[in-house]
Symmetry: C2
Subunit: 395 residues, 2 copies
């Protein structure tokens, strides 16, 4: 086990009706001016946004609004948000939505807290924010875990670069998590969320530290719960327990818990960022689903025992002690079949990605030759290209 | 799943050498005067205490000292600590030790933060602290989880009443957790710690909420990791990975995580508190070990499926779908054999408890007729007596 620091101060209010407490909580924290940040569509149609406005007004909290965040949130919107935050002197950004809205809010918080620094510099890792305007969340999608994580990912629409960074200031102050708000999430988006949640745990699980028994067991247990809940929510979108399991597992999967004491680099996420950075129509979870099993088959020979443990403990594959590679591959196969059962893509061809652009994607993923990705197997440009190619053909 | 609130702000620095950072961290937080609180024996002999003093001096932090905390910490010591805290104007209490020292420090913090209220009133639940002097921890024992929990348990030595209560102010500000500091823990204390850690998760697991798939899976995974690590640490006290697993599992098992979304009442802990309250020579973990399986056999007929799930998932007992009671009892039996393998007592006779005092213990456990304990099966005085009697004979 590696040394680690655990510090997750985000306060979670989880369960039915928790979103109703937004105004009251914000007042208790002493904030008077808020930027209300959201996407569009469902939060408007469902009446949630009206209820949030009402909750703020009831407590005498002033607010400005910035809606219209899209999936794969963009820098242009972040810049508008920063400007509004400064003009309105907002003390808190209240994100109502899923990961895209929350990440956009975090980036706005970074920028508004440090008006003299161009916010994109943080994403390029050319600067580190020393403070930020805090973010609170009303969660409407179980997927990104951004409601409890320290990370934020933004796409620069001018050059298609999708970049993320972690900061303690990115942990939301509080998050109100009512699983009922996800009853209306489409089958496709539910599948994307399930894959994303699993991937946050899997990417940590397939790091390169050997001993981490507590973290391993927590990760395996979480995966088993998500697999079961993902299936149930796919079949019955209003299954409260399944929606609740996905929502809470989503928060736990990316807050750090499932990687404590482990060294890891989220390689599949890095490969996927180039995909949805270049093709913003590709949902993050769908991109991960199309890449993961090819990535796993590529790196697996470097750590067959680890993948065999995964197959055995998570998918109940019988362990082949003589030939752990067999158990390992069976576990990867079971994952692929599961993703397919949720109607998720398992190849890049299904996503209509153009193979002639793989070169450019790999080039961007190395930050134009500036980095390789450490891992069970280190990935340079050639290895990245190989994984993109392996992931292409429809199965 | 029940609605829940998650709020665990304690910052953990986990791993080798973390205790060296005490002085530096305390200075970063801005504290200048500290009450250094500890037990005796091993922290002195090992030189740890000297290293802590040095770490404080190196950062120019003033400190007063109060050592001598015993297992099952007592109110008298707490009162002395409160007086010292007030006299010395201590801004932080630094607990160096295990659960007894940490709990004593928390109670001192409650009292010193509210000098106009008698601290025992909080334990009798006649008052609620509105503030407290904060506590930080250098952990030397994997057991209580007090380094991250909101609870504190103190014995009033004047009447033998052992009482605990939870408060958000009881969450330590930070805890430095170096598993190497537990290498010297005796085989007996390691067994007590392993049982205590398991019990913190088991008591939540055997609450009465039916659906909580994520929490269930986390609990089951944690238990599996603890069972394995407890065995390894018993056989090789200097197995770093085993000691690290026990230490981190100890913190997670009582910080709330393994009970989120579940309704529960820690019945075995309540039964045990009367035991070690009346016989302070009995270690808490040993008392739990002697009581748990009898308690489980007593309440099991009210929820055989739950106990069967435990047997299957934690102990790999084959599920008997026709007769889950069989699987349930096999799981309890496996637990008992495991406790025995760690040289832990599995009967009250081994602990030389006098059966003629069961009546008094049960009476105290009902707070003299003022309460019953809700659970899978509600426990009144008669049921408590029955469990004490079942737990008596040596097996």
């Amino acid at each position: 086990m590696e040394n680690f620091e655990y510090s997750i101060p985000t306060r979670i209010l989880f369960g039915k009706g928790t979103e109703e407490q937004a105004g009251k909580l914000i007042r208790e924290y002493g904030f008077r001016k808020v930027l209300l940040h959201y996407g569009g569509g469902s939060v408007v149609r469902s009446g949630l946004l009206d209820r949030v406005r009402e909750s703020l007004r009831a407590e005498g909290i002033e607010f400005a609004e910035l809606g219209g965040v899209q999936a794969n949130p963009v820098l242009g919107m972040v810049r508008r948000g920063i400007q509004m935050c400064l003009e309105e002197k907002a003390e808190l950004i209240l994100a109502v939505g899923g990961g895209s809205v929350i990440d956009s809010a975090k980036a706005i918080g970074d920028g508004a807290g440090n008006p003299d620094t161009d916010v994109w510099k943080y994403f390029l890792k050319e600067a580190v924010p020393q403070k930020a305007v805090p973010v609170a969340v009303i969660l409407t999608l179980a997927a990104s875990g951004s409601e409890m994580s320290d990370s934020a990912v933004i796409t620069n629409e001018e050059n298609g670069l999708k970049r993320g960074f972690g900061s303690p200031f990115h942990r939301p102050l509080f998050a109100l998590c009512n699983p009922e708000l996800t009853f209306s999430v489409s089958r496709f988006q539910t599948g994307c969320g399930t894959v994303d949640i699993m991937m946050h745990t899997l990417e940590r699980y397939f790091g390169w530290t050997k001993d981490s028994s507590v973290t391993d067991r927590l990760a395996e247990g979480l995966l088993k719960a998500v697999i079961e809940a993902g299936r149930k929510a796919d079949q019955n979108p209003e299954d409260y327990e399944a929606r609740a399991a996905l929502m809470w597992a989503g928060s736990l999967s990316h807050n750090g818990l499932t990687g404590l004491g482990r060294a890891y680099m989220m390689q599949v996420h890095q490969l996927e960022h180039e995909l949805s950075g270049m093709y913003p129509r590709i949902a993050h979870g769908a991109g991960l689903s199309a890449l993961f099993c090819s990535w796993a088959r590529f790196v697996c020979p470097a750590a067959p025992e680890r993948f065999a443990q995964y197959g055995q403990r998570v998918w109940d594959v019988e362990m082949n002690v003589e030939n752990p590679m067999e158990t390992a591959l069976a576990g990867i196969q079971a994952t692929e079949e599961y993703f397919r059962s949720l109607n998720m893509p398992i190849s890049l061809e299904e996503l209509e990605v153009e193979p002639e652009r793989f070169e450019e994607m790999a080039e961007k993923c190395t930050n134009f030759g500036a980095r390789t990705l450490p891992g069970i197997r280190e990935l340079g440009k050639e290895e990245m290209l190989e994984i993109y190619r392996m992931a292409y053909p429809r199965r």
